[in-house]
Amino acid sequence: MLFPTFVFGAFFVVVFVVNWLTRPHPAVWRPLMLAASVVFYGWWSWRFVFLLLATIVINWVVGHYAAASLRASDTAIPRVGTTARWWVGLGVAANLTILGVFKYWDFFAVEMSNLLERFGITGALPVLEYTLPVGISFYTFQAMSYIIDIGRGNVREMAPLDFAVYLSFFPQLVAGPIVRASEMAPQLAARPDPRHVPAAEAFGLILNGLFKKVVISSFLASEIVDGVFADPGSHSGPEVALAVYAYAVQIYADFSGYTDIAIGVALLLGFRFPQNFDNPYRALTLQDFWRRWHMTLSRWLRDYLYVPLGGNRKGRANTYRNLMIVMLLGGLWHGSTWNFVIWGGIHGVVLAVERLVREQRERSGAPPILPPGWGEIVRWLVTFHVVCLAWVFFRSESLSAAVEMLGALANFDNYAGTATPLVIAVTFGALAFQFMPTDWFEGLRDGFAGLGWVAQGAVVGVSLVAIDVLGPTGVAPFIYFQF
């Protein structure tokens, strides 16, 4: 079920009513909310509902036994070799196996088969060709965070139905944000006051998300990005560059648009999700970018991968190694192609270089090379273009296509007419918007909150129609559904 459809609108009206009527009665509310999430997910494919339910069962059972082992060992932090630690390891392995079978096996099998074929060995590894279940990377990572946090003693074991609701909760099920059990469990236990639903904030987020997805993202995709990335050789260098900038805006509008809608929908149901974006293209360093882009994945990778690897505590070389490992695996999280590996690799290398330069400058105590103001501009330009360079690999379907795209930047002819004033205005306008103060939204929100429900309904209705009018016919799935 896609958010920007009337089907979802009708679905949500029913869920909203049921949610607030049954919330005081958890024994009723939990199964109904789980059922709603199953319907939402099953709208794509009923077959994968069983995979989701299996993931819920496996992780709850593992979490249960890990928690029980912790209690038996009478220690808050499991030691190496303790039973709890084995349970956590088993749970992580089970999740990675599920992810590996559905997401990574074919990549491995094809690469190995092609390698072996060069030595005359054919048909060595079977290609499974399983359909990738929507949102598998998101809910698998949430499940792993739950059992790891139980093993660390950071969260308490959840009741089976609470855990099922947490893992399958439909607003964030298919494309995040990646919500942790420690964030969700207290909210599941609480009884939100139905007299104080933050409607103004929620409607604002939903309408803003719809606008970003339906209008901005779809417009840039159809007007320049898809065409140029499919055939860069037939476009001039400036058009190719504009298409890369436009893709940077498109993927931000698409993904953060989904996140805004998810957070808004959850707010209407009485839940508050963590923030996932914070104007990422304002970043002056790549480290800053990762504090602003897909923030829930960044902190997941930090807390469950980077820190356990040693983080920056085991010397400079190990720090750089850890950064590279985290970013390469972060790339692979998005998909099983070399392009995603390179995307992660670019981020890893530049993060390491940034750290090296920063540390050297701090040690030497050298003054800034550029005068105040100029330094920020240069750092922003470098950071933004590194991000854009990496997006080329992220968006291109193959390594050769990415190389072709980069090569086409040097085209001095072949102007194909895609760089229209509107495309230029939308692309750079959206980028400029990242630097705008956000007071305006708070003013709008307070203004909306001051309206009566009739006026609020009118604003919502007219806004929905305006978004529909401005957007193209039909709604493409969100980019991050494929991850």
């Binding site: 987020l205 499919a230 918007f433």
Partner: protein, 373 residues
């Protein structure tokens, strides 16, 4: 734009309102959006495949649209759409673009437009009295690689062959790639367009015959590549009656529509048409439907000169003889040629198909005077 989010523990109750009022505001908003958008919603319902889902949707939206239109609530959207230059035809007001009269007039119009276009004066074209492709129209030629008598047609960089590629979402995934490969020859000036979810079964959704006539009149391409069918295995209206998929009436009408489009394109004796068949699909039922459509395409192409049907099933046949995302290339290396939806082509698959189609074009057009890539 990024809206700031309060922290998770934010408990600002001042802006909270009772859930009942939120429901009223939200429901009113949705209702208002429905009323203002009623014509569009009804149009989308009518464009669904014939069946219970369409019937139910139309039954829901028709009365809403009736009341909304009577009250003039549809007008704001209409004005905005007109301001944006969009098609604002009333739901259900579509004419039948496949009617014989309409087709005849369209062909004449296309012929006239092409003949009057001074830009075509310098193009070397085949003798209209001579079929451009002797023996063309039979897929056997393509399948066996038998030589096809070619017209001595030599496009050059100065006087390139104009190629236009059209179709449904399949074209979305290979059209741009083929444009790039074609342009790389140096003697082809290619362009492409596609319409998602379209085909020949539902001209009320997208009227391809009319669009094709427009393209022929304006662009006057020398060669046209068409690919339809992915959305066509659904019931269609024949003389006001709904014909069930693959019933005799359906096959007769669909064949006539395919033939009509082929005739539209090849009315100009200087133009050739390459009709692309559907590749193997992952879903066996869907695949068997596509095979039946391919039979129609093949049969209709065989009746016409200058229409060449290209069978793509073998091109994308996997190691197991059926569908596979991964197909070995000539070096034995597995390539990811299909998307995960089991239907569309990846960029690599699009490149493979495009090369086959260009090779096909090369059977009757000499492409050697360009800069071959």
């Amino acid at each position: 734009m990024q809206i700031p989010h309060p922290p998770l523990d934010a408990t600002d109750r001042r802006i909270g309102v009772p859930a009942g009022k939120v429901l009223l505001a939200g429901a009113l908003g949705l209702a208002l959006a429905i009323v203002l958008n009623s014509q569009q919603l009804l149009r989308e319902a009518q464009q669904k495949p014939f069946g219970w889902e369409r019937d139910a949707s139309v039954a829901v939206w028709e009365p809403v649209e009736g009341v909304a239109s009577a009250a003039g609530a549809h007008l704001p959207r209409l004005w905005v759409d007109e301001a944006f230059g969009r098609d604002v035809a009333d739901p259900g007001a579509a004419t039948d673009p496949f009617s014989t009269v309409a087709a005849g007039e369209a062909v004449e119009e296309a012929e006239g437009a092409a003949a009057d276009d001074p830009a075509r004066a310098g193009v070397v074209v085949a003798d209209p009295a001579t079929p451009a492709i002797a023996g063309a129209g039979s897929s056997d030629d393509a399948a066996t690689g038998a030589p096809v008598t070619t017209v001595p047609w030599f496009p050059t960089p100065v006087d390139p062959l104009r190629l236009h590629i059209m179709g449904d979402s399949m074209v979305q995934f290979f059209g741009h790639v083929m444009v790039g490969l074609a342009n790389d020859t140096g003697v082809i000036e290619a362009s492409t367009e596609h319409q998602l979810s379209s085909g020949l079964s539902r001209p009320d959704f997208y009227d391809w015959p009319t669009r094709i006539v427009e393209v022929l009149a304006v662009e006057d391409p020398d060669a046209v590549v068409l690919m339809f069918g992915g959305n066509d295995a659904q019931a269609i209206v024949v003389d006001g009656q709904i014909a069930r998929r693959f019933s005799d009436a359906w096959v007769q009408e669909y064949s006539a529509r395919v033939g009509h489009v082929m005739d539209l394109v090849t009315t100009d004796p200087d133009r050739v048409l390459i009709w692309v068949g559907q590749p193997i699909m992952e879903d066996p039922e869907y695949d068997s439907r596509m095979q039946r459509l391919n039979e129609v395409f093949d049969a209709e192409a065989a009746k016409r000169d200058r229409v060449h049907y290209v069978d793509t099933r073998d091109l994308f046949r996997g190691p197991n003889g059926g569908f596979s995302r991964y197909v070995a290339d000539t070096d034995g290396q597995l390539a990811d040629v299909r998307l995960t939806d089991g239907v569309h082509l990846s960029t690599i698959g699009g490149r493979w198909l495009s090369q086959v189609l260009l090779d096909e074009l090369g059977l009757f057009v000499d492409l050697s005077s360009g800069v071959q890539s």
